[in-house]
């Protein structure tokens, strides 16, 4: 890929992200001149970039979007949901094009038709506005008769003349009301000026400026809208960015180097320990120096990992739009409340989070949120609320989706599990509520009675759990019958470090992720029962399958008559006991993908080099227990 195309990808991605945020702000606050100008500028820059890399179809689509926003800036068109929708569709297409360029290293060959469709969409929107203007001016005027409008505006001016407390509140409110009145009167050119006047008046705070602006605008009511786009130039300050753009690959290289440095440090730790056993002055000095090195490298590692940190905003932001579309297509009014979008997490997490979150969001709107009639009957607010939250809890990042829908019907889950042959009728009736709720994570289970467009795309909660667990996280589910449910992802802050417990089996050292370890127990040989070829033992009235770690992985195991040392571990709700020869220490390791021959063994998640130069094989407990 040539450097121009590479730079184009970088810039266009940033711009696409920025313009999406600006458009959503604009939808919430149609008078926000800053967002309008920024969105317009971004489309313009995208157009320029497309021309530089010779990508004409994208240039045409961007031009269409730019034209539409330009007419909004002139006051010829109002900001409507469909206009924002068209612009967002345009940006979605840009992102798809960028993905395709990134993948293939060249411009998409069949972009012409897509670009035409986008341009046509804008043209259709424009035609609708024109028709409305010519056909129904009377209707608009009737909605608020001119006299009434003038009376409302006079009230605002009177309000601004009042001195005393709450001045800022009055300025903001008078400005808002006045802008709305002008909009109702079809004067889309005025609100921008009112907003500017509000900003100015708030700076004082001095209400005179706004009062004057409203008066001036009232005087102009008889005249035609003035075509004066230059009147209010963007007042958004230069984003004086203190950030530095660094290629992601360079950061990854730094992370990898730091990992190796950590391994080297561990080796010195091992030597320091050996030396101390000798017990001379030099060994104490080495141990002290090792202590310093340990602290420094920990600090370095933390700092390096911070380089790869992104705010959750990157993924949360996309949901404003997605929820809006889902809500429209399912005809269920939904309000999305985003909290903690500034929470930071490792880039790897932020990037992978989208898919599982999308599925959970879909479930919440499609299955959780009731239709209006049902909500009304239950005495609930007509508009459903979904909270998307992010927060840091110690070494974890918690992301949750909470809806105020009907909750999860565990009886239906039980029935579905039986219908799909995933469990017997006896098994499900005996299940606790908690266990029944856990059925939702079984592969192949879908309780939707009617398959809609949104759900039923073959990705179930089992896939959600799998992808979250792959990141070293876990999924929690809470449901409140009739009042909603919460799906919570508890993710590691950084994916690099893994806490493991080392064990020895068949002469080989293994690492078991500490997350999966429940407890370690000693089991007497005569307490181990044979179940067919398999073995099991009873722990606190629960039968737990016993797995010999070494034979399972193809290592030979020394026969022994002494008590079995067992690590009880769980993953994805499955519990099992791993018989090992010896328990080792707990340590933080930097996991690397398993090399060569080992990569074919699914039970091995990765490897790490130990202080003494030995290789630690870190287990994928889910695979071991399978």
């Amino acid at each position: 890929m040539n450097e121009f195309l590479e730079q184009f990808l970088l810039e266009a991605r940033d711009l696409a992200e920025q313009v999406a945020a600006d458009l959503l702000t604009l939808e919430r606050e149609p008078d926000d001149r800053g967002s309008l100008d920024a969105a317009f500028r971004a489309f313009h820059t995208l157009k320029g970039g497309a021309a530089i890399v010779d990508f004409a179809p994208m240039g045409r689509a961007m031009h269409a979007a730019e034209d539409v926003l330009s007419s909004v800036r002139r006051g010829d068109r109002p900001v409507t949901a469909s206009l924002i929708g068209d612009c967002l569709a345009c940006i979605d297409q840009v992102v798809q094009w960028l993905d395709s360029i990134e993948e293939n290293g060249e411009l998409p060959s069949e972009a012409d038709a897509t670009a035409e469709r986008l341009a046509a969409r804008f043209a259709a929107g424009e035609a609708a506005i024109e028709a409305e203007k010519t056909e129904a001016p009377a209707v608009r005027a009737e909605a608020i008769p001119a006299d009434a409008a003038v009376a409302v505006l006079r009230e605002q001016i009177a309000l601004l003349a009042v001195r005393g407390e709450g001045l800022e509140g009055r300025i903001a409110s008078a400005g808002r009301v006045a802008a709305n009145v002008f909009r109702h009167l079809g004067r889309f050119d005025i609100p921008g000026r009112i907003v500017d006047a509000v900003t100015e008046s708030l700076a004082g705070p001095d209400p005179i400026g706004l009062a004057r602006a409203i008066e001036l605008a009232m005087e102009s009511l008889g005249e035609a809208p003035s075509p004066d786009p230059v009147a209010s130039v963007a007042n958004r300050p230069d984003p004086t960015s203190r950030s530095l753009r660094v290629d992601a690959e360079r950061v990854d290289a730094l992370v990898s180097l730091t990992g190796e440095l950590t391994v080297a440090k561990n080796a010195i730790g091992h030597i320091a320990m050996l030396a101390q056993e000798g017990g001379n002055a030099l060994s104490t000095a080495i141990a002290n120096e090792y202590g310093k090195l340990d602290r420094l490298i920990d600090g370095l590692q933390r700092a390096v990992l911070e380089l790869r940190i992104l705010p959750l905003r990157r993924v949360f932001q996309r949901f404003s739009r997605i929820v809006r579309e889902m809500s429209e297509s399912l005809a269920k009014p939904v309000r999305l409340v985003i909290e903690g979008e500034e929470t930071q997490a490792d880039k790897v997490i932020v990037e992978v989070l989208f898919e599982p979150l999308l599925h959970v969001m879909r479930n919440a709107i499609d299955h959780g949120v009731e239709h209006s009639a049902e909500r009304a009957a239950a005495g609930k607010a007509a508009i459903a609320t979904i909270h998307l939250r992010g927060r840091r809890e110690g070494e974890h990042v918690v992301v949750e989706v909470e809806d105020d829908g009907r909750g999860i019907d565990t009886d239906r889950l039980r029935r579905a599990a039986v219908e799909h042959g995933l469990a017997t009728a006896d098994a499900v009736t005996g299940m606790s509520e908690e266990a029944a709720l856990d059925l939702i994570f079984m592969p192949g289970l879908s309780t939707a009675t009617d398959v809609t467009d949104l759900s039923g795309r073959g990705v179930g909660m089992d896939a959600v759990r799998a992808s979250v667990e792959r990141l070293g996280g876990r999924v929690q589910l809470e449901t409140r019958n009739g009042t909603g449910s919460t799906v919570r992802f508890v993710l590691p802050f950084s994916v690099m470090m893994m806490r493991v417990m080392t064990v020895e089996a068949g002469g080989q050292l293994f690492g078991i992720p500490l997350d999966a370890v429940i407890e370690t127990v000693r089991v007497r040989r005569d307490e181990i029962r044979s179940v067919g070829h398999a073995h099991a033992f009873v722990l606190r009235n629960r039968t737990i399958p016993l797995i010999g770690l070494a034979p399972t992985l193809g290592w030979t195991k020394a026969e022994s008559n002494s008590d079995a040392t067992v690590v009880v571990a769980s993953s994805g709700g499955v519990l099992g006991g791993l018989e090992v020869d010896r328990l080792g220490a707990r340590m933080d390791v930097m996991l690397k993908p398993a090399p060569g021959l080992l990569s074919g063994i699914p039970e091995i998640a990765g490897t790490t080099v130990l202080g003494d130069g030995g290789v630690l094989l870190v287990l994928d407990i889910k695979e071991v227990l399978r």
């Binding site: 450097e3 121009f4 730079q7 184009f8 970088l10 810039e11 500028r41 313009h44 820059t45 157009k47 320029g48 970039g49 021309a51 530089i52 890399v53 130039v233 963007a234 007042n235 958004r236 300050p237 230069d238 984003p239």
Partner: protein
């Protein structure tokens, strides 16, 4: 004789595009870059460029205002304003402040004409 060109655009891609055309025409000229109006004004003081190629579409400021300001500060310095919007209004405003309008993306013939005219303009001003 070589000159120093100040290229002002917040898009690095756009600056790269200008650099490519410029490098093809005058490989031995020096190029300095700025990403916004403030940087451009600072570069004007510190780098003393002989001519400026400026993007119309600037964050927070109208490129033509910046062009006008640059012209006021250095009346003899040739300034080109480039824009992807080929609107008569912009062209007229550019001419009004004494800047040359160039359309975006920048083509070699357009930049060559501007630079040739600029060189003729600068020479009598005492450059050697």
């Amino acid at each position: 004789m070589t000159f120093k060109v100040l290229v002002v655009d917040d898009s690095k891609l756009a600056r790269m595009a200008v650099a490519k055309v410029l490098g093809g025409l005058y490989p031995d000229w020096t190029r300095v870059e700025a990403t916004n109006a403030n940087e451009a004004l600072a570069a004007l003081e510190e780098q003393k460029p002989d001519l400026v190629v400026l993007d119309f579409n600037m964050p927070g400021r109208d490129g033509l205002d910046v062009a006008a300001q640059l012209r006021r500060m250095r009346p003899a310095m040739p300034v080109a304003v480039i824009s992807a919007n080929h609107q008569q209004e912009i062209i007229e405003r550019a001419n009004a402040v004494g800047a040359t309008f160039l359309s975006k993306p920048l083509t070699e013939p357009a930049l060559r004409d501007f630079l040739a005219a600029a060189v003729r303009q600068i020479r009598p001003a005492g450059h050697e």
